[in-house]
């Protein structure tokens, strides 16, 4: 029998919610601990931040000079690096500071900003090192994490999951909240994976899984404008959890300028 795969979970700037995809998986977590060697996962106990591993899950965005160095080390020590969650794949909600002068904010907020060592931006892991697999979502769920681990155990490439939330919404036979209620649903431009939770609860998707493939942000923005939403409100739909994902960043930027995208 081959040696067990070695697994690490690293945390950067984040809310810890994606790590809970592990800690909330119940009996599967014990099974996982049986199948692989969890060598580093500070929140769960094992500590070996500098160990070399076969698969490293990285939660959080890169937002300090130390983070920049540490992520390079993690990359060097990991055969397969998985960026997990909106912070790691797109910089997270905290990347909203990238749009303004982040350093000024810190100065405005802290009486002694010199104590705070933070970069002016919060960026995705892929902006710093090569990423082998991305799990989008704020937060990712247990299914995504288990599939990633299972894929490594089988030794196969990650499956591509970039369809839109709408398709999953319809498979669940949820009534479209955009069409039936005029809600500003982001499902038509948002990546699948959550299980279309929001429309299932009869509310608009707010794009926490980031952009889907081939998204037509322009057409959706125009539709929201027809429904009576202001340019600023439409801009905020894009500039939220995944504001630094390029597609949303561009769309949000245009609407923020009041540009209706018709030019």
């Amino acid at each position: 029998m081959d040696a067990k795969l070695r697994l690490a979970v690293h945390k950067f700037s984040s809310c810890d919610g994606c790590q809970l995809a592990f800690l909330n998986m119940g009996a599967d977590l014990l099974k996982l601990a049986d199948l692989v060697d969890i060598v580093h996962f500070a929140e769960a106990g094992p500590m070996a931040p500098d160990a070399t591993v076969d698969i490293a899950f990285v939660e959080g965005s890169i937002s300090t000079p130390e983070d920049e160095e540490r992520i390079r080390l993690v990359r060097k020590n990991s055969r397969h690096l998985v960026a997990m969650g909106a912070c790691a794949t797109a910089g997270g909600l905290q990347a909203l500071r990238n749009r303004t002068a982040g350093a000024d904010w810190i100065a405005a907020i802290y009486p002694q900003p010199e104590f705070i060592h933070a970069l002016p931006t919060s960026t995705a892991v892929a902006a710093h090192v090569i990423v082998d697999e991305e799990l989008w979502g704020c937060p990712v769920n247990g299914r995504q994490v288990l599939d990633a681990v299972r894929g490594r155990l089988f030794g196969v490439a990650p499956a591509v999951k970039n369809d839109k939330v709408c398709l999953e919404c319809k498979r669940q036979q949820s009534v479209c909240v955009l069409v039936a209620h005029g809600a500003p649903c982001m499902g038509p431009v948002t990546r699948t994976g959550c299980g279309a939770l929001c429309p299932h609860l009869q509310r608009d998707c707010y794009a926490c899984y980031g952009p889907a493939e081939n998204p037509n942000t322009r057409a959706l923005g125009r539709r929201l404008a027809d429904l009576g939403f202001s340019s600023a409100a439409i801009a905020r739909r894009f500039l939220s959890i995944n504001s630094a994902a390029p597609v949303f960043q561009d769309a949000g930027g245009l609407w923020q300028k009041g540009d209706h995208g018709d030019a």
């Binding site: 299972r150 089988f154 030794g155 196969v156 490439a157 990650p158 499956a159």
Partner: protein
């Protein structure tokens, strides 16, 4: 009711590395009854399943007479095919098939046959070559023209050499880019046409990249081949292989059910049309 999706277990009897990325799996159903029941026509394909990962349509390259062994020559490209490339003899896969309409072997009887293939497009054609060579008296002259992007991509080099020495067989090899020592011609596969006995009345079978096939068809028509005598093997994304899932359509055709081998007139309108 039969369940068209149900896989059968097959064992890898042998694994042959054909080129750095291409390999052949020699498979046999483990259930003797299934083995006995199974028969196929050249040009048909199987769905080969990598346990827990997925299934891919792969042509059968063996001859139907090699009853107990089903050869599949695969290029390691994506999730399933790269995963398959790591399997070793003795390991198991899932298999279902055979599917689709194979080469027009009845129409081909007594005719001169021209096979034009490009890249790994040669896989579905190999089965028919073997078929013809084993039933030599039923067919006329056989011309085999194979083009590759780079001369290093050529697989089955010895086979081509062996075939080229047979009576009534002409083999031509071309590479867009060649390494030193290349014994074939340089250029697209159509550069082989001048030396090849391509005569009106021949039946042409081809497979390979669609742009290549389109160029070849134009050349064939120019040389007086009847369009009804041109047959092409097509590839599309496929999940069910039985005409249900909708992925493999080219216009009104389901490649899995109506093909993968089509006559040129069936495809004429859409061949090379981007998006179909």
């Amino acid at each position: 009711m039969s369940e068209p999706h149900i896989l059968r277990e097959a064992i890898i009897r042998e694994r042959i590395q054909e080129s750095p990325t291409i390999f052949t799996l020699r498979l046999a159903f483990t259930d003797p009854e299934q083995r006995a029941r199974y028969s196929f026509q050249p040009g048909q394909f199987n769905m080969v399943a990598l346990y827990g990962v997925g299934q891919s349509p792969i042509s059968i390259v063996s001859d139907p007479k090699d009853e107990h062994l089903l050869d599949h020559t695969i290029r390691g490209l994506g999730r399933v095919s790269l995963g398959l490339s790591r399997l070793t003899p003795g390991e198991r896969v899932g298999l279902r098939g055979p599917y689709g309409r194979g080469w027009p072997l009845v129409a081909a009887q007594g005719r001169n046959i021209v096979l034009v293939t490009g890249g790994l497009g040669c896989a579905p054609a190999v089965s028919v070559i073997r078929y013809i060579l084993r039933r030599r008296d039923r067919f006329g002259h056989l011309t085999i023209l194979q083009g590759v992007k780079h001369s290093d991509d050529l697989i089955w080099r010895q086979q081509y050499e062996r075939w080229s020495k047979l009576p009534d067989v002409h083999v031509g090899l071309a590479a867009d880019v060649s390494a030193p020592g290349w014994f074939g011609q340089v250029g697209p596969v159509t550069v082989l046409f001048d030396r090849a006995p391509i005569t009106p009345g021949s039946l042409v079978m081809m497979c390979g990249p669609e742009m290549m096939m389109r160029a070849v068809v134009t050349e064939l028509l120019r040389r007086g081949i009847d369009e009804n005598d041109i047959w092409l093997s097509m590839e599309r994304n496929m999940h069910c292989a039985v005409g249900l899932c909708g992925h493999c359509q080219i216009g009104p055709h389901f490649v899995c059910r109506d093909g993968p081998v089509f006559s040129y007139p069936e495809l004429k309108a859409l061949l090379g049309e981007r998006g179909f």
